[in-house]
């Protein structure tokens, strides 16, 4: 994916200004920066989740395989089928684990044969490293799992519809360190098949788990801008911008 001069507004307020960002395929791109600088807003622009906010508006282009997802003839629903999302707080449906994973698949193909659906559910739960823990209780509610399991269920649910890109907005902020490590390991296997963007406040996580890092910062008019984009190693060892250096070393924000 590629953002070209993307600006995002809430009404008259410009929350993100002029971001041009190439997102590398089958790599993990982390977005870091102080609170309120527009990380979530930018991330949600990549699958048009901002459309749900009445006042939100995007200027510029965001390209998926060369096509602008904000072009007038593009349907937001179709975009979200290709660009999945995992949220900050685990939000499984209050339905059986099986149905959680099957939901998106059934939407795309209501008459899918049961064996085929079973296979997709198992494959997705394996893909999210959850299968062994839930294979005997697929009929139990997804909300009855632990927080970390719930978040992996949400990942399984997202990959079940076979998107190209996975957006994650602070997916580990509600989890304990062990569950966090599990998700990070999972991301490393997922990146073999999916392009991943992750927002995180955890510097170690960005350094450990991502290939590229976007550093964002608020301008004096409170609009967020991208001040640096580079390979993660570069950002953490040899940043070009002084503000990035301060931020990643914990002297800022």
């Amino acid at each position: 994916m590629l953002a070209e001069n993307a600006s995002i507004f809430y009404g008259a307020f410009r929350a993100v200004a002029d971001v041009t960002l190439p997102v590398h395929e089958r790599q993990i791109t982390a977005i870091i920066g102080p609170s309120g600088c527009g990380k979530s807003t930018l991330l949600r622009a990549f699958n048009r989740m901002n459309d749900l906010v009445q006042s939100a508006r995007v200027e510029g282009k965001i390209l998926l395989d060369g096509d602008n997802i904000y072009a007038p003839d593009v349907d937001a629903v179709a975009v979200r089928r290709r660009v999945g999302m995992v949220f900050q707080r685990p939000n499984p449906f209050p339905k059986p684990i099986y149905d959680n994973v099957a939901y998106g698949v059934r939407l795309g193909n209501p008459r899918i044969p049961k064996p085929e659906l079973d296979a997709i559910v198992e494959q997705s739960l394996r893909g999210a490293a959850l299968w062994d823990e839930v294979k005997d209780k697929l009929k139990e509610s997804g909300t009855a799992l632990s927080g970390g399991q719930q978040q992996r269920l949400c990942i399984a649910r997202a990959i079940a519809v076979q998107p190209d890109v996975l957006l994650m907005d602070e997916p580990c902020s509600a989890l304990d360190p062990i569950a966090t490590i599990k998700i990070e390991e999972l991301m490393q296997t997922l990146k073999e098949r999916y392009t991943i963007m992750i927002v995180t406040h955890n510097m170690q996580q960005a350094a450990r788990a991502s290939d590229y890092t976007v550093m964002m910062m608020m301008r004096p008019d409170r609009a967020g801008e991208m001040i640096e984009f580079d390979q993660t190693e570069q950002i953490f060892t040899n940043p070009r911008d002084k503000r990035t250096e301060d931020y990643v070393s914990g002297r800022f924000g």
Partner: protein, 414 residues
């Protein structure tokens, strides 16, 4: 300084006492109402019968089957012992409607009207029954002393005015033979009609307002008006129903356009439409609250998987909001059950003995029935009015109880 604290404490005590007093007052009023209703629903009566049932049959008549009753009636007629049911009278009744085709209740009615001729000549409250038996006995002695020669003695019996017959009988000119069958069926029919109209419209409107409507002046205005409508006195809805449904749309509400002749607009359909308008704000507001309480994260999860807005509403919002919507529905039902004024205006029948048969039937409802009975001069009508109030209260309280339980359940799961 010191005196200030004392006076503040005193004010707090006074405030507390006032609030306690008002709570106590409300409770006392409720208990008094209930006691009054119970007082009249049960109690001793003085009954006079021309023939005691035990003379006709050793086993109680109610326990006999239809065929046994038929045999009994035939035997009595053949014996020609009783003036009330001679051979000739039997033949006449049989040609009106063959006894073989009459139900058990119908044969019992014949036996009662022709032979037993049971009549309640005085009724007493539960209080009098329990604590003033002397007054009951005095009345009994007076009646028996004044009785003509050859007449059987009057007796004192305990009676629950809420009994099986009360539910199965239609209204009539004799209180102890009247029941609430027509009124209950009428109430049920009106409520069914009300809900069939108000539920889809109300839930639809709530979904529109919560999920689709953009924030703008027009929608704010609609919202404010719905909230205000909930406070409009019910008689106004009655007037509206009278002018619009009963009069202006008479050809529709009487069924004339559907080829059903002979009705006026005072039908179950008119009543249902009127009541639907009345409960619509209740349903909309409760459904809106329930929909608003559905966590946004659920919607986001659904949209994030590429569900459309309608799929999100259908698969996630509605199921999660269902208990709240049901609560509102039940509250609306109990409101519709108890409303009297609009039904008077829309024209519930004051005297009707036929069960409602469809949307274009005439009807009466339980509160209307109670209202009519309380206006009757005869003492015993007051007893059956109390019995009907008891039935109505039990229905209303159970409906509200279910609504509260549902609401609590919803709170716990959220």
């Amino acid at each position: 300084m010191q005196s200030n604290i004392i006076s503040r404490k005193r004010n707090a005590k006074i405030g507390q006492a006032i609030m306690f007093a008002s709570t106590a007052f409300a409770l006392i009023a409720l208990v008094a109402l209930l006691l009054n209703v119970l007082n009249r629903s049960f109690g001793n009566v003085i009954v006079r019968r021309e023939i005691e049932p035990s003379v006709l049959s050793p086993t109680p008549l109610e326990q006999l089957s239809r065929d046994e009753l038929n045999a009994l009636v035939k035997r009595i007629a053949d014996s020609d012992d009783y003036d009330g049911l001679t051979r000739g009278a039997y033949r006449r009744l049989d040609s009106e409607k063959p006894f073989a085709e009459r139900s058990q209740a119908e044969i019992l009615t014949v036996i009662n009207e022709r032979l037993i001729k049971e009549e309640v000549v005085a009724s007493f409250t539960l209080w009098q029954t329990l604590f003033e038996p002397a007054s009951v006995n005095a009345e009994l002695a007076k009646l028996n002393n004044a009785r003509k020669a050859g007449m059987p003695e009057a007796r004192v019996e305990f009676r629950s005015w809420v009994n099986a017959r009360f539910f199965t009988q239609t209204m009539g000119s004799v209180a102890e033979l009247s029941g609430i069958r027509t009124a209950i069926l009428g109430s049920l029919a009106v409520i069914a009609m009300t809900m069939a109209i108000a539920l889809p419209i109300g839930v639809g409107a709530a979904i529109y307002l919560e999920e689709y409507a953009k924030k703008n002046r027009l929608n704010d205005l609609i919202q404010t008006n719905i909230t205000n409508l909930a406070g409009v006195p019910s008689i106004i809805y009655g007037m509206l129903g009278l002018f619009v449904f009963v009069r202006a749309l008479e050809s529709f509400t009487s069924g004339a356009v559907f080829g059903i002749a002979g009705n006026n607009g005072r039908t179950i359909l008119s009543a249902g439409l009127t009541m639907a308008l009345l409960v619509l704000p209740i349903i909309i507001i409760n459904a809106q609250e329930a929909i608003r309480a559905v966590p946004n994260s659920l919607r986001q999860a659904s949209y994030g998987l590429g569900a459309t807005q309608w799929e999100t509403i259908r698969d996630h919002v509605m199921p999660a909001a269902l208990p709240g919507i049901l609560t509102g529905t039940i509250l609306a039902m109990s409101r519709a059950m108890g409303e009297t004024a609009p039904m008077v205006v829309v024209g519930a029948s004051t005297f009707i003995v036929s069960d409602p048969t469809g949307p274009f039937s005439k009807f009466t409802t339980l509160p209307i029935q109670i209202y009519n009975w309380t206006a009757q001069p005869d003492e015993q009508f007051r007893n059956i009015a109390a019995a009907a109030i008891l039935v109505l209260l039990i229905i209303l309280l159970s409906l509200n109880m279910i609504a509260i339980l549902l609401r609590n359940k919803m709170r716990n799961t959220n």
